[in-house]
Amino acid sequence: MTVIKHHAYLFDATRCIDCRACMVACSVENNIDMDKTRIWVAGLGVTGEYPELQRGTMVYHCMHCDHPDCMSACPVGAYTKAEDGPVTYNPDLCIGCRYCMNACPFGVPHFDYDKGIIEGAFIDKCTFCPQRIYNGQEPACVETCPTDALEYGDREELIAKAHARIAEHPTRYIDHVYGEFENGGTSYLILSHVPFSELGLPNLPETPVNEVSEKVMEMTIPFALGWGAVLTAVTTGVALYDNKKKAASKEKAETTK
């Protein structure tokens, strides 16, 4: 196997048969509660009118964004983006604010709404199966896929592969590799025969979603210092002026007396 510099997946919607083997595999591999899941099938199902029909489904889990919004949003830094791709979550830090759920444009992290404080309610999401990928195995969802709709490998190579596939079958695919640039690039790359929006994917710009908020955050400290300085200046100015005025009126009063 080639050395993987940046772990990534390639999902090809033209191949996915919605068999859900990946979903079952993930639940077993990661020991997910029966009423939870880290991975699901999205899409509009069957569209069109009999007998002119089409179907598009896509397997949805964490995109392992290059600029993870979950990570950007989390106040306590419970998320980590590994140098080589995976975005992981650390329940030991989580305060349960669920801001990451709001932040993730893909609606990936989900929360234990049915757990009290003793059991501990946490976020869960796809981890990229580190226990497998760092032991020479493919992630559980990828490995089992009977049609190779899900593939795993190095991001650069998968991007090249995806473009090669489009070039080879130009009529089959929409000429775009979703995730190559979306949200600043994701580690989950998607090929499709139906518009990506039909697969439930948001239309995202190439700049990461968190770019604006991170810029604003960068400005916070300078702004606070500046604003503090301005206020101090104003305070002093007003105080000086006030005292001067007071003194003047006192003087005036005294002189008039």
Binding site: I17, C19, A21, Y50, L53, C145, P146
Partner: protein, 727 residues
């Protein structure tokens, strides 16, 4: 259809019940002793054990991951040709089959009324003694033929057959007549073999799928093969009244009118023969009966077929041309559950012949390696006793060309009910759920009512066990040894990855114990499971220990006929029989001949059945993992039809046939012909012993009418016509 098909509730079991937990929280017993001993596991109890899936009959190779002495994950074995590293959803859910909280873990003896579901736990001694004494009693009083045996294909079936043939009963029911009889018998009549293997190589250009929903009715490797063929750009034409997931990936979907596939294929033959598009040298050299065929199909023009099939004549003509153009890299897939209508045998013959005309033998089709490897050993055993009694299912006296081993399962019951030609008194069932899988559930239950004694071997209290007198718990496929499975040039081993839970035992053990109690011990000459396997392996010169570690042994394939200079087929003529004398002799048409299928009357609909990826037949709906990821079972109806009947999505309707009725919610969809309805099989369980599945969905078996194809004996599973009204 922008609606969510599934808003299924995940298991809403309370926090206290197992259901809310993850699989890992219900992993009880420890890893198999054998695995520990042979060093597959390290000191911490971690490692990987090779075995085989049994969530369906495809039997993919499985690598069971063991952690701290417990099995925590199943992965596809890359070395096994059926899995090639992948497992389907059912294979992935295998842990839950073993850890199903509803597993039966001790022998059960009925205490209440039959069908009441009241049992008491018993020891193996007691249960086996009881079964043996009842069977002996029946044999002594009414003859061995009064015991019916039935079982669905599984690895220990040779031992099951040992039991029944040694016992001396001719009455053997298998799932085959509910499944692929039409295909098997057609291939036997044409090629002299049950099912040729298909070759999906890089050159494969054109595939014609007749109702083979390969992307949902999954056989991991073949599903993968088809998918990759499509990916490479092979053209796939798919005939199905439903827009299945396979239809959505096919190049062309033809929503054919049910039962008329025969007309379509006859028209293809017509064009191919009349326009001389066939491979003449191949046909001349390897087939017999071309002239008879040519004469018969000359009537079946595409114009004739168009109104019958609902497919325009030009389309049929075009497909005939495309198909022939791609020859020999072209394949007409027979299908698997091919018994749809009483004319299905002819459909299957037409498909087999279509392939022969293309000369695609050894290009896209070849002789299957077969599961019986001549190279394996077996324990010695005496000859079976002669059986002279007639079979209750009418083979061969009513079904002259149906092989004995295959039978016509659904026809047993009438004779049990009527007691003609003789009454049956007992039924021994293993790994099968006839209450659900046979059509007309009412009739099956009625037949059960005529019997003095019913015993079922299963891993859960399935619906059939629910009506049984004794239930014998088999160890699950992750807990037991089974006889070896030859695939290609290897033989694969199923071995326990955990010790059996409770008192569950392997079939090898159960049958031997029973055999001994029935005085048939000579037919079970092995000490235990490992001894049986050693005897099997003896001719290969490989030790069981070695096989346990690798999971398989190399076994040179028995060279098949194809490799000899002159091809010959195992038919009376030694050639591919386009015209079959065998058929003609027993009064059936020797070449495929049009037979008008019955049609629904005004106001009636075809009721279709067909698999979904997330369950196998009638046995996995109780698997919590599969339950979790399955769509809610609903009755599919075409959106236009629904509108014309004033029905909307999720309405509850009453579905009625001549034999029964059910209530079910609707799924209004574009994905089905307007004259058809569809139900997912396997729901509507009766057994309350299946806590996850009980109460979910309705059973199509309740409304299925029994119609048997007179030639192949296949049950016409799409030939049930129903009315619906708002419930």
């Amino acid at each position: 259809m922008t609606k969510t098909i599934s808003r299924r509730d995940f298991l809403k079991l309370g926090a206290a019940s197992v259901g809310a937990l993850a699989v890992g929280q219900m992993l009880p017993p420890m890893v198999a002793k054998a695995a520990k001993e042979n060093g597959v596991l390290n000191a911490a109890g971690d490692g990987v054990i090779s075995t085989m899936c049994e969530m369906c009959v495809w039997r993919c190779g499985v690598l069971a991951k063991i952690k701290e002495g417990r099995v925590v994950k199943l992965d596809g074995n890359p070395e096994h040709p059926h899995s090639r590293g992948n497992l389907c959803p059912r294979g992935q859910s295998g842990l839950m089959n073993t850890y199903d909280p509803d597993r039966v873990l001790t022998p059960l003896i009925r205490v209440g009324q039959r069908g009441e579901g009241k049992f008491r736990e018993a020891t193996w001694e007691e249960a086996l003694d009881l079964v043996a004494s009842k069977m002996t009693e029946i044999k002594n009083t009414y003859g061995a033929e009064a015991m019916v045996f039935s079982s669905t294909h599984n690895l220990s079936q040779p031992l099951f057959e040992n039991l029944l043939y040694a016992f001396g009963s001719p009455n053997y029911g298998t799932q085959r007549s509910l499944c692929f009889n039409a295909m098997i018998v057609a291939n036997l009549m044409t090629y002299g073999m049950e099912e040729p293997a298909r070759i999906y190589d890089d050159k494969l250009k054109y595939i014609l799928l007749t109702g083979r929903n390969l992307l949902e009715a999954i056989s991991t490797s073949e599903t993968s093969d088809l998918s990759h063929a499509i990916d490479r750009g092979a053209k796939v034409v798919y005939l199905d009244p439903r827009y299945t997931k396979t239809a959505s990936k096919a190049t062309e979907w033809l929503p054919i009118k049910p039962g008329n596939d025969l007309a379509f294929h006859l028209a293809l033959l017509n064009i191919i023969i009349s326009e001389k598009l066939y491979n003449r040298p191949f046909v001349e050299k390897n087939t017999v009966g071309f002239d008879e065929l040519k004469k018969e199909v000359s009537r079946y023009t595409p114009e004739w077929a168009a109104p019958l099939t609902g497919i325009p004549a030009e389309t049929i003509t075009r497909i005939a041309h495309e198909f022939a153009d791609a020859a020999p890299h072209t394949l007409a897939h027979n299908g698997w559950r091919t018994s749809n209508f009483v004319n299905s045998f002819h459909t299957q013959r037409a498909i087999s012949i279509l392939n022969a005309l293309m000369g695609n033998w050894d290009v896209t089709m070849t002789e299957a390696a077969g599961e019986e490897s001549g190279t394996l050993g077996a324990p010695p055993q005496p000859a079976y006793p002669r059986v002279s009694a007639l079979r209750l299912d009418g083979v061969p006296w009513k079904y002259p060309v149906v092989p004995f081993k295959i039978g016509v399962f659904q026809e047993l019951r009438d004779n049990i009910v009527s007691g003609d030609p003789y009454p049956a008194h007992g039924w021994f069932i293993s790994r099968q759920n006839p209450i659900m899988s046979l059509p007309d559930r009412g009739k099956t239950i009625e037949a059960f009512g005529k019997l003095d004694f019913i015993v079922t071997v299963d891993i859960v209290l399935n619906d059939t066990a629910w009506f049984s007198d004794v239930v014998l718990p088999e160890a699950s496929y992750l807990e037991r040894y089974d006889p070896l499975l030859p695939v290609g040039d290897k033989v694969f081993l199923r071995q326990p990855v955990i010790e059996p839970q409770g008192e569950a035992k392997s079939a090898l053990w159960i049958y031997k114990q029973l055999g001994e109690r029935l005085g048939l011990g000579d037919f079970f000459q092995y000490e235990d499971e490992e001894d049986y396997l050693r005897q099997q392996l003896a001719p290969l010169g490989v030790s069981l220990e070695e096989v346990k570690i690798k999971g398989y042994a190399e076994a040179p394939e028995t060279p098949h006929a194809a490799e000899s200079a002159e091809k010959s087929w195992n038919t009376p003529s030694g050639k591919i029989e386009l015209y079959s004398d065998t058929l003609a002799k027993v009064g059936f048409p020797g070449v495929p001949t049009w037979e008008e299928p019955p049609q629904p009357a005004e106001g009636e609909f075809y009721l279709l059945t067909g698999k979904v990826a997330t369950s196998t037949q009638f046995g996995t709906q109780n698997n919590q993992l599969l339950h979790k990821y399955s769509d809610d079972p609903r009755l599919w109806i075409n959106a236009k039809t629904a509108a014309s009947l004033g029905l909307v999505d999720e309405d509850w309707v009453e579905v009625k046939s001549s034999v029964g009725q059910i209530h079910t919610p609707l799924l209004v969809t574009q994905a089905i012909r307007p004259d058809c309805l569809y139900m997912t099989p396997g729901y509507g369980h009766i057994s309350k012993g299946l806590k996850t599945a009980f109460g979910v969905g309705a059973s199509d078996s309740t409304v299925h009418v029994t119609f048997t194809d007179p030639i192949s004996g296949g049950q016409a599973l799409s030939q049930t016509f129903v009315t619906i009204k708002k419930a």
